[in-house]
Subunit: 162 residues, 2 copies
Amino acid sequence: MTVSTNSKRMTRQRRLVLEELKKLKNHPSADYLFGVVRQKMPNISLGTVYRNLDVLVNSGQALKLDLAGGQCRYDGDMSPHHHIRCSVCSAIDDLSESAVAGIDKPRVSGSDYVVTGWRMEFEGVCPRCQRAKAENPGSQEEASHTVHAFPNMSVTQPESEE
Amino acid sequence: MTVSTNSKRMTRQRRLVLEELKKLKNHPSADYLFGVVRQKMPNISLGTVYRNLDVLVNSGQALKLDLAGGQCRYDGDMSPHHHIRCSVCSAIDDLSESAVAGIDKPRVSGSDYVVTGWRMEFEGVCPRCQRAKAENPGSQEEASHTVHAFPNMSVTQPESEE
DNA sequence: CTAGTTGCAAATGTTTTGCATTCAC
DNA sequence: GTGAATGCAAAACATTTGCAACTAG
């Protein structure tokens, strides 16, 4: 389970994984990133990518986004921001903190847990999939049922803000 | 993929899965629930439990909690509340809405996504694991690095009970 | 009857791990 | 030189699915 000492060697593989992750802005999965780094280092293995991502995350240089949808995604951008996931194509995009109203630093009281953190994620339909749906209304929706729905937010509101 | 017609039969298996889930208060995984229902119906299969949980979720009778930690958990309690997950033992407990300050209905503006929902989860250490750690400080922490940490929230507010 | 459902097992997809070899320090 | 890191492939998991047999309505 994860490395914990701090005697880390900077191998070529590790440097490459780190560099490419920082470059990518699409919150890649380990597998996607594997595909990218493989172009520059064809012999690197998927296990190595996973191991190095783990090192990155545990040393505070990247974020592991354990969002809905099975696969974990990674983010090289450590500045505070939220994420929104397209329920159709699983794209993940950033949501600046100022774009979200109604969320302060949550504070928990009256629990016998020692609260150490929280995680939040938004779900929606990205512009590409909105367009695709408009042109091809037959394709079935995903409506994951694992989120709090916005009750009266009709799924037909291109961008006007409420 | 999931079922989509509405001609559902109430089989013995389905009824049992539903009943037992409603009874359990510990947000069981499919596998755990499988173990429970198997005591009353030894021949039921895990696939059937998954399929019926899916039916339950899609018909609005249960919640699928796709939280951190790989395994999905299910909740038969549909009343609005938050969840907190123990980072040590993965227990999931309820957090009443009134226990959480700082969270309104979040509202998103300035995104080109059509926002349909959000998901939120707290992380902490449950009372049992707090006690275990106090007695055995050697055991390693999990500190999942996949959440927003509470910066200056000291790990000290036992409130003990249970 | 008959279409939805089940049990079983095999398949899937993601992530982890064991191990001999290699390499960074 | 030595322990950390790699490549590879197998293992470990959670979940899904194909299919023949079964059953609720």
